[in-house]
């Protein structure tokens, strides 16, 4: 079984490079394809689905919600897949990848050498998927945070079972189910 992940940008690629080996059964091959932002990803999806013909390949599209309506966004993305009969899992990071880090402040604490775990209880961060501008918020807590470097340093410390971000858990579950079927 081969999984092809279509991603908005590079930091997601680096994060998944670290996390996927922990959840995928051995023998699963995967490719992580980073694009240059939303429009680039949107143009790429129909092409990839049509032309990527390796047998037993399933696709995962991971998109940031940003300021869009989650349901409408998912419907839009699903529409891009309509001309292909390939199996595509669409998952949204609510609102950005950084929400997933807020879901595991212990990992962030280990990565940057300071204890941010007390903030988990703060009303602003209790529900990571509801944080308005997670990247900005994270930069406030960790001024030296940069996207690619952050994915590489936070990723290894992430606990896949106890993240408080719903979209993160839904993503993981979706991928695991995709392989199981």
């Amino acid at each position: 079984m081969n999984l092809v992940f279509l991603l908005e940008e590079r930091s997601a690629k680096f994060l998944l490079e670290i996390l996927l080996p922990k959840i995928l059964p051995s023998g699963t091959t995967y490719q992580l394809i980073a694009h240059d932002g939303k429009q680039d990803l949107a143009k790429s999806i129909p092409r990839k689905l049509t032309a990527w013909n390796t047998p037993e390949t399933k696709f995962v599209v991971l998109h940031d919600q940003d300021s869009n309506d989650c349901i409408a966004l998912k419907a839009n993305l699903r529409a891009m897949c309509k001309n292909s009969d390939k199996e595509v899992l669409i998952r949204i990071a609510c609102r950005e990848l950084e929400s997933w880090y807020f879901g595991d402040l212990h990992a962030v604490s280990c990565a940057y050498g300071r204890d941010l775990t007390p903030l988990t209880l703060k009303s602003k961060y209790r529900n990571p998927d509801k944080i308005g501008n997670p990247k900005q918020e994270l930069r406030k807590l960790v001024p030296e945070y940069e996207q690619i470097a952050g994915a590489k340093t936070i990723g290894p410390y992430m606990d896949l079972l106890n993240n408080t971000s719903t979209s993160f858990n839904v993503f993981l579950k979706g991928v695991q189910q995709l392989i199981a079927n």
Binding site: R10, D36, G37, K38, Q39, D40, E144, E146, A149, K152
Partner: protein, 391 residues
């Protein structure tokens, strides 16, 4: 120490240019020949004016007629607004240079002023023209000292040196000495990797040259004198460039110094000759960014040469991290580098009718709304949407 805005008049292709709201890391984008190198040369010019004098700075660049913008009549002038620290006043340095009837180049006016708060009237710290003027006098350390000091008439040794160099009383005053440091230590990086590949003669080098040809010597210097910093560089190197475990500068028996890169998988290290361009270039930038003598302003010429897209994104992050302590200006024409940068950080240089204009990319409403909708700056640049013509 941060430059917040810059105005240029009649300097080569910059007839009249204002660059405002400059962030810690600013990226200057333009096609070939648009004036990016000339923009950095503004600092090179001020550097020469300060270290030597305006006559030499102008002569080095081909003479007054060459340096002053074509068909311009007025003097060459610069206005730099900077803030030594977040909670300190905004300081304005203005200088204009002209040529007298005898063809001699001189400083027509040079004014340094400071402004406390948003609405206070500015205090003149010094005000000179043609080698004479007034300046605050006495022991000047703090802003209060300067504000309370009397202004005394003074004369410089000549009309072609800068008052900020010629006046001794300011050597302890932070606003002046930080600005002097910015201009004196100004550094432009234009690395040519091939020079770093060959073995080099053993020399003592603390700082990288503009083209980076003394990389091996600087590596050895850092390794021998700043082991913690060197360990940080290696750590970053391992994170950013997979496969590199260690870098060493080895002195050979016949008196040369060579760089060796250790791949984690192989027992023997590779000589720099056999290592990819990207690896050496990334290492050079990491050495630059970890210089113990921190630069107040770093100018980086087109980092995209010889670096593949993924590495460019990582390099952009390294520059941004550095810019939290020292300001970084980067010139580029690479869509891949731009994709790793925020729209607010970008200034577009466009040459029109022989002169270059500089516009903030986020002031372009179309570019801004496309950016907010998810288009990356590199894509917008490729589509021609960042240039001033779309306004």
């Amino acid at each position: 120490m941060k430059i917040e805005s810059l105005e240029i008049k009649n300097y080569k292709v910059f007839k009249s240019v204002k660059v405002n709201n400059i962030p810690n890391m600013a990226v200057f984008l333009g096609k070939n020949g648009s004036g990016k190198s000339t923009f950095f040369d503004v600092f090179g010019f001020l550097h020469d004016c300060l270290i030597s004098n305006v006559k030499i700075a102008i002569t080095k660049r081909g003479g007054f007629a060459e340096v002053r913008s074509r068909e311009a009549q007025g003097d060459i002038s610069f206005k730099i607004q900077f803030r030594p620290n977040d909670d300190e006043p905004l300081i304005t340095y203005e200088i204009s240079i002209d040529q007298n009837s005898k063809g001699q180049v001189y400083v027509r006016s040079e004014v340094l002023r400071m402004r406390r708060g948003q609405h206070g009237a500015p205090w003149k710290i010094l005000d000179f023209a043609n080698g004479e003027g007034t300046a605050a006098e006495g022991e000047l350390k703090t802003y209060e000292d300067v504000q309370l000091a009397t202004r005394k008439p003074q004369k410089l040794e000549s009309a072609d040196i800068l008052a900020i160099k010629g006046l001794g009383q300011f050597k302890d005053f932070v606003a002046v000495n930080q600005f002097r440091k910015l201009i004196e230590d100004w550094y432009v990086a234009d690395f040519k990797i091939d020079y770093a590949r060959d073995r080099q003669d053993v020399t003592f080098s603390e700082q990288l040259s503009k083209v980076g040809d003394n990389l091996a010597a600087v590596t050895k210097y850092l390794h021998d004198n700043y082991p913690e910093r060197f360990a940080d560089i290696l750590k970053k190197m391992r994170e950013r460039v997979p496969g590199v475990q260690d870098v060493q500068a080895k002195v050979t028996e016949d008196g040369y110094i060579v760089l060796k890169f250790q791949d984690g998988k192989f027992k023997n290290p590779f000589s720099a000759k056999f290592v990819s361009d990207g690896t050496i270039k990334m290492f050079t930038y990491l050495v630059l960014l970890n210089d113990p003598e921190q630069h107040v302003l770093l100018c980086i010429e087109e980092p995209e040469n010889q670096l593949y897209p993924e590495l460019l994104a990582e390099l952009a992050e390294e520059f941004r991290q550095y810019s939290r302590k020292g300001q970084v200006f980067v010139s580029t024409h690479s869509p891949d580098f731009l994709n790793a940068v925020e729209l607010d950080e970008i200034y577009v240089l466009t040459k029109r009718g022989g002169y270059t204009t500089i516009e903030k990319a986020s002031d372009n409403p179309i570019a801004k709304s496309l950016y907010l909708a998810g288009d990356k700056p590199g894509t917008l640049w490729r589509e021609g949407l960042l240039e001033g013509d779309t306004l």
